[in-house]
């Protein structure tokens, strides 16, 4: 068994992405945010339970989904090469990007080559992960998010806070405010008499975005799945903005993490049953689009884009794959079920995680993709109560608590990790020096019963002087926990007095009353 430290390390906060405890402390003070989050997470989790309950074979689908992903990850090189061959045979072009910069460069060059200066985007976590919008903007290209929630986030100069509903932290009054203030500077302004009913707000977004869809020549997307044997790309969505982006433009560029590949078309039968029910709690999401290359006749009949580019993104995924315990995070199909059941997410909200991947999955994915070097990434493995609800609902059975403990151990004790393909030895985190010294002292004390007894009696006599919190580095522990009260008598003394003497008198210890 490995030693695991459950304490919260005391890291200094950086202004860009503060450590999780600092960000969370701010978020839990926001009553509006907490009310919005509570309503959302409880609504989705109850619906999800009903949708999952409809399928008698849910556990078997879950096991199959896990096995398909594990099998694919074990042969990832083979399936990526197969995918490249299939996509190429269908008339598409495949690009490989080792990191965010390379992916951004590839996409920027592809857009510039079309001569266009505008792209429409369907919600893609991979492009958020690499900061594509900012890279395009630097090259003079405007990227328009078209998912309603992403539009709210983009217009609000905000960050997404949930995988499925990125603007869940905003209520209708805030959204109306954002639309009225910002839409005009991006395109068609919001109607002058816009009210804050969801129908009116959705209609304003429809009119604003339709202008962009109908003239867009280039689209950027992600994908939920890529089928190696056929080269088929799969996107699940609800609003139709995905279909607009995937169908109307002349050039389609999809940026997809290498872990999204599945071997066969048949494998989709598992995920098309588990993903919608886990995610939006529906039997099926309103729209799913599947395409293989730029179309059956290479777009000549006008059905879909005439050029299709697939950018395969590593950006820390192969490093994650190198970790035998942590690699299971790559099974994730981004359903967000773990967010909705997490007591920590429900109170802290998505922004506190400082990553495009919030919640329990973000707490294990981000520190693996980015390494544990920054304050936020070093504290993310501690952003959990280890209650295990996330594992229970995960449709691909990612043991998130197991990976959290594994990463805590890595942060606290250091050890071998892979960074950019190279094995390096991580040093123990600085904040843990005092904790390790305390553990060493405790070990010495426990090895010497006489000293332990003397110490315990001394403590019991001085118990009225005990402080409520610890001084120095121990504060990080007692800031969030009450220091236990020191008993008047140690257990060892109690045992010697009560049980030790009964045995001598020859009566059964079971016959006596419970200890005081």
């Amino acid at each position: 068994m490995t030693a695991v430290h459950l304490g919260m390390p005391a890291f200094p906060a950086s202004p860009a992405f503060p450590a999780f405890p600092d960000a969370a402390r701010e978020a839990v003070r926001d009553d509006v945010l907490r009310a919005n989050l509570r309503h959302a997470t409880h609504t989705i989790r109850d619906k999800r339970a009903r949708a999952v309950g409809e399928l008698a074979d849910w556990d078997r689908l879950r096991a199959a989904g896990k096995a398909v992903k594990d099998h694919t990850l074990a042969h990832l090189d083979r399936y990526l090469l197969m995918l490249e061959a299939s996509v190429t045979a269908a008339g598409g072009t495949v690009h490989w990007a080792a990191d965010a910069d390379e992916a951004n460069r590839i996409v920027t060059d592809l857009v510039l080559a079309t001569g266009e200066r505008e792209v429409v985007k369907v919600k893609s976590m991979a492009t958020q992960e690499i900061g594509l919008n900012e890279a395009l903007e630097a090259a003079g290209i405007a990227a328009y998010e078209t998912d309603l929630a992403e539009l709210i986030v983009q217009l609000g100069h905000d960050r997404p806070s949930h995988i499925l509903v990125p603007a869940i932290h905003r209520n209708r009054a805030e959204i109306r405010e954002i639309f009225t203030r910002e839409m005009g500077s991006w395109g068609r302004p919001a109607p002058a008499d816009l009210d804050d009913s969801p129908a009116a707000l959705a209609e304003a977004a429809r009119l604003h975005l339709r202008e962009k869809f109908l003239r867009a020549k280039v689209a950027v997307s992600g994908a939920n799945f890529m089928v190696a044997e056929t080269g088929t790309m799969v996107v699940l969505e609800s609003e139709g903005n995905g279909r607009m982006c995937l169908t109307l433009p002349e050039t389609l560029i999809s940026v997809v993490g290498i872990e999204k590949v599945v071997p066969t078309f048949r494998d989709l039968e598992v995920f098309l049953q588990t993903l919608p029910r886990s995610s939006t709690a529906e039997r099926m999401n309103p729209y799913t689009t599947m395409w293989t290359g730029p179309g059956p006749s290479k777009g000549a009949d006008g059905d879909g884009p005439s050029a299709f580019h697939l950018v395969l993104l590593d950006n820390g995924r192969t490093d994650t794959l190198a970790d035998a315990t942590g690699r299971q995070a790559l099974r994730c199909i981004r359903c967000s079920a773990c967010l909705n059941v997490c007591p920590v997410y429900e109170r802290a909200g998505g922004h506190a995680y400082g990553s495009v991947y919030p919640g329990p999955i973000g707490a294990i994915l981000s520190p693996q993709l980015r390494g544990t070097g920054s304050p936020i990434d070093a504290t993310l493995p501690y952003a959990s109560t280890l209650c295990g609800a996330c594992y229970e609902v995960c449709p691909v059975a990612i043991d998130i608590p197991e990976v959290l403990l594994h990463l805590r151990e890595r942060v606290a004790q250091g050890g071998p990790v892979t960074r950019r393909g190279i094995r390096v030895r991580l040093r123990p985190a600085h904040g843990h020096t005092a904790e390790r010294a305390a553990m060493r002292a405790a070990r010495r004390l426990l090895d010497h019963p006489g000293a332990l007894r003397a110490g315990e009696r001394l403590l019991a006599r001085a118990r009225r002087l005990a402080p409520r919190g610890l001084p120095g580095p121990g504060r990080a522990w007692t800031d969030t926990r009450a220091l236990p009260a020191i008993p008047a008598e140690s257990f060892r003394d109690w045992w010697a007095r009560e049980r030790g003497s009964t045995r001598e008198r020859g009566t059964s210890p079971r016959g006596r009353g419970t200890p005081r």
């Binding site: 078997r60 042969h75 088929t232 609003e239 293989t292």
Partner: protein, 218 residues
């Protein structure tokens, strides 16, 4: 070294993990045994739950039903392979699905009528595969009113696994489960953000012995 070689080399170094896992396929092909009539009922119930409007008729009743559903539409878009008699009673001006049509032209069309590749009862889904009676993907996307005709019983399958077995992955596939919808604002479901706001499904009874126009199940 290219990025492709670098990524593949990293994978090969990394993936020396546990032995290969067998993929268990013991999950169900179908969730429940149904007669063709029960299957159609379930499809109708699930589509209705997602706020699609469901109608039933037979071959003889189809032109009149479509004409009624198209009341108020000035123009109707029809893919090239649509059986001509389907729209024989409709007043709306017929617009053809042409490669040269611009998105703006399609935006001016009131309604579209298509067939489908198949429909899935357990999930309330219709699947289009771009065959001649369904046309290009964009014609069922831009107009605000989509009428889709499903031949019952032969085009209705029970489950997702049964559907994938019958579909051709090389064709462009569009799966539709109810009209376009969003729940992004306080989780209130709103129909019709970008896709058609109204989705009407016509279950077309083609089995003579089954009888025409079964009443809707509750």
């Amino acid at each position: 070294m290219s990025s492709k070689d670098r990524i593949l080399a990293r994978i090969r170094r990394a993936a020396s993990g546990p032995a290969d896992t067998e993929i268990p396929r013991d999950y169900l092909r179908v969730h429940g045994a149904r007669t063709p009539a029960e299957r159609a009922d379930l499809l109708a119930a699930h589509l209705t739950e997602y706020r699609a409007k469901v109608h039933r008729t037979d071959e003889d009743g189809l032109p009149l039903l479509l004409a009624r559903l198209l009341t108020g539409s000035r123009t109707v878009l029809a893919p090239p392979g649509l059986p001509p008699y389907w729209l024989s009673a409709a007043d709306a001006t017929r617009v053809h699905d042409r490669a040269a049509s611009t998105p703006a032209e399609l935006d001016a069309v009131d309604s579209v009528v298509t067939g489908c590749a198949l429909a899935i009862a357990e999930t309330g889904t219709i699947v289009l595969d771009g065959s001649p009676d369904q046309g290009r993907r964009r014609i069922t996307l831009i107009p605000d009113h989509h009428i889709c005709v499903v031949r019952v019983p032969e085009q209705v399958v029970d489950s997702v696994p049964e559907a994938l077995e019958r579909l051709d992955p090389t064709r462009p596939l569009t799966w539709i489960s109810g009209p376009s919808a969003t729940s992004d604002i306080e989780l209130d479901r709103v129909e019709g953000v970008h896709g058609p706001r109204t989705l009407e499904i016509v279950l077309l009874d083609t089995d003579a012995q089954w009888g025409p126009c079964l009443p809707m199940s509750p």
